[in-house]
């Protein structure tokens, strides 16, 4: 449920859905996100520049010369968006992952910490239907959940300076895929050759908030030969 709407500076608002981070809360966020996106696309509201869902909030940025925050707040409050059935856009995406030791940098530590062996860790990861909570920080990077509780692990004490593009990492109940080479503190368990983000394609980001991700194990040879279609 939408709990509260507050201003962020003079050209943003945040719609707060409560403190819980779980799929149900996030699905509510995504419902409002879909509604706002649809309203913008159909020109039902003007001046909206960006709409960014996260675990439990939706942030809306607007052009102050075009619209004011109270008009947007009124628009949201007066709409019965949670009852509007927008066409189902959310999809299931299969992402290949190679757990070869060259890529799975932190799996040995995870084995010690979780008392599970490599095979068990992999099968728990493969068995999960991951929900895309949000995308961001850098372009295309998805935040997926929920991991099996037996795999929960903290962030690295000292983040790595460089993590390769395509690396798949886990922290607490979340899993992420690095879409750019970057520093990072997640526990790396494998790598995907799948290109999730390409600014030059019409479909810039394969994943959208609300989608489902299922990983599929591939060998190192398949990794090398893999090409995005």
């Amino acid at each position: 449920m939408l709990k509260k709407i507050s201003n962020i500076g003079d050209c943003g608002i945040t719609c707060d859905f409560g403190d819980e981070v779980n799929k149900n809360t996030n699905k509510e966020v995504i419902k409002l996100f879909n509604f706002i996106q649809d309203s913008v696309n159909k020109s039902k509201i003007k001046g909206i520049l960006n709409y960014t869902p996260s675990y439990n909030k939706l942030i809306i940025n607007f052009e102050l010369g075009q619209i004011k925050s109270n008009e947007i707040i009124e628009f949201i409050k007066s709409s019965d968006y949670s009852k509007i059935n927008l066409p189902e856009k959310n999809k299931i995406v299969e992402i290949p992952i190679c757990y070869d030791e060259e890529f799975a940098l932190d799996i040995k530590r995870l084995e010690q910490k979780t008392k599970l062996n490599f095979k068990e860790i992999v099968s728990k990861h493969l068995d999960t239907n991951f929900f895309v909570y949000m995308i961001g920080f850098v372009p295309g990077q998805p935040f997926l959940g929920d991991l099996s509780e037996s795999l929960y692990h903290d962030r690295l004490d000292t983040p790595r300076i460089r993590i390769n593009k395509g690396s798949v990492g886990i922290v607490e109940k979340f899993c992420t895929i690095y879409t750019f080479e970057s520093p990072g503190g997640w526990n790396i368990i494998g790598r995907t050759p799948f290109e999730l983000f390409n600014i030059n394609k019409t479909n810039t980001s394969i994943l959208s908030p609300g989608d489902t991700v299922k990983f599929k194990s591939i060998s190192k040879k398949e990794f090398t030969l893999f090409k995005n279609e």
């Binding site: 500076g9 003079d10 945040t14 869902p53 939706l58 102050l64 600014i199």
Partner: protein
Amino acid sequence: MNNYFKVLRPGINSTFQDLGRFGLQHLGIVASGCMDQLSFCNSNKLVDNKISEGALEFAYQGPLLEMNGENALVAISGKVNFNLIKKNGEIIKGKSNESFQISYGDKIDILSTINSVYGYFSIFGGFKIEEIKGSVSTLVKAKIGPNNGNKLKIDDKIFFRKSHQTNKLKKIEFDFDKDNVIRVMNGLQVHYFSKNSQDDFFSKEYKVTKLTDRMGMRLEGVKLENTVNKNIKSEGITKGSIQVPGDGQPIILLSDHPTIGGYPKIANVITADYDKLVQKTPGTIVKFKLVNLAVAENAFQDYVRKF
């Protein structure tokens, strides 16, 4: 096709920008766009372009460009020290915020911004640069934008559109707002900070540090005490948000900010004061004045009149 500038020296951080790339933040793509909107728009007005036309933004030291092609009308906005070096070797001291003619073989040497950070270079008819998702803004970190998402580098060629001749020289009276008070509104997590720290932030002086770029401006000053939690659940970020990480020193998120972030935010810079803020050079002392939404919206009305 042969109308271009050759880059003889790229400058420190020269990128193409416009007013921003919108509607993609939910996919992790920040709006980017010019840092100082008023100066950016001025550069286009000076050469009779539409104000949203892509221009070259430079920081501190700009590029040295050699003109190859037909005569053109150009302008440099901001407060910029530059020379026009004629083909015959004559050096003419440039005047920012005035348009001028440039001919084949001339060079423009953008030496430095004066007590400010950003300046803009525009050409009548516009640069011939590729629009990506509706914008020519460059996000270097993600290699998004014209010039393959890169900063200018030596020997690059910057093509511009063939345009009919014009001699309409223009001039804009312009100076930066010199006062160092930046108006802010309360941030979403202002209550995460002790009452004393809130008072400190909205009254004491903060220094702009060298760790400042298009992504963010790190400040140095009274340490802010977080009494609730040093992290929040990651949430969407707005340009001008002032976040405070565990070390208690604030960081203002600027045009190329990450799209989501997990640090509490004590305040947000109001739209009317953003241009003024980004032009503050490292070492400048700034103060933050707390205002409410009504004041911010009124200030915006005054701000747009400058355009």
